[in-house]
Point group: C2
Chain length 149, copies 2
C-alpha cells in the first residue's frame, strides 16, 4: 500500500521550502537534496503553484517559496489533491470494475471506512506540525547566582 | 493510493469461497466470475493455502474450499499478510530511502499513524462481516389466523 510518488515528492518539496523560508529555493536544490529527478519535480512544482501553495519569483536570482504559512497548509487536503485517485481496490474504479459481486459486496464500504480513517489522521496535521522542532540554543543563557532574588 | 492486486484478488477469492460453501470451487470458476487471469489466481490460492485459510481437495472432482469459518478470518490480519509492504512513502523503505530530512522529519510518524488507523478499521471486520445478507425467504411462512393464540 503506497501513496503515489507525486504525493511523496509534493510533501517533500513543501517540507524543503518550509525549512528554507529565509531564501528562494531552486528546483535543483530540491532535486540534489532528495535525489529526485528535475523532470518529476517540475510537474510537482507546477501543480503546487496551481494550488496556490508555492509561488515562483522570476529572474536571474529567482526561485520558489511557500505562498502560505506552513500552519495554513493542511496535510489531508494536500494529499486529497495530489493523489490521482483513491481506487484502493478495483471496485472503486467503476469504469474498470470487473468484479461480479460489487453490487452486494460490503468490502467496498469497509475499505472506504478505512480510507476515511487514514485521511482523518492527515486532516489533523498541518505542514507546520511536520517540521522538526527548532534546534536548542547552543549557547544557553546562564543565570547569575541570585539573579532571581 | 491502492492496495496491491494480490490483496484485492485474495479478498475476492475468499469472498467467492464464502459465497459457495455448498460445493468445491475451481480456480477457473473464480477467474471466470472476476475476470482475473488464472496465473494470478494460482499464486493467490497457493499463498492462501500456506496461510491455512483455504484447502485444496485433489482429484477429478476436486477444488478449493475455505479451511476456516468466515467469522474466524480477520480482514486486518489478512491484509497485513497479503500486502508486500507498507512503504507508504520512500522514507518507510530504509534500503531505498534517499530523503535527506528523514532523521528529523515528522512526516513518517504522521503517515504511520494514518496507516495504523486504516488497519484498525480492517481489524474490526471479519470475512463474515463482508458477506451480503442472506436473501429474504421468497416464500415466507404464512401464519394461520389465530396461530399465536
Amino acid at each position: 500500500m503506497r501513496l503515489t510518488s507525486f504525493t511523496d515528492y509534493s510533501l517533500r518539496t513543501l517540507l524543503f521550502l518550509s525549512a528554507h523560508r529565509d531564501r528562494l529555493v531552486t528546483i535543483q536544490d530540491i532535486a540534489d537534496t532528495h535525489a529526485i529527478s528535475k523532470n518529476h519535480l517540475m510537474k510537482v512544482v507546477y501543480q503546487l503553484g496551481l494550488s496556490g501553495l508555492i509561488e515562483t519569483v522570476r529572474g536571474r536570482n529567482g526561485g520558489l517559496r511557500l505562498a502560505k504559512d506552513p500552519c495554513d497548509i493542511n496535510i489531508g487536503t494536500l494529499v486529497r489533491h495530489t493523489e490521482s485517485d483513491f481506487f484502493i481496490a478495483e471496485c472503486f474504479d467503476s469504469a474498470n470494475d470487473h468484479c461480479a459481486i460489487t453490487p452486494n459486496c460490503l468490502l467496498k464500504h469497509t475499505l472506504n471506512d478505512a480510507m476515511q480513517a487514514f485521511l482523518a489522521v492527515l486532516d489533523r496535521q498541518t505542514l507546520q506540525d511536520l517540521l522538526p522542532p527548532p534546534p536548542r540554543d547552543s549557547h544557553p543563557v546562564k543565570l547569575r547566582r541570585g539573579a532571581a532574588t
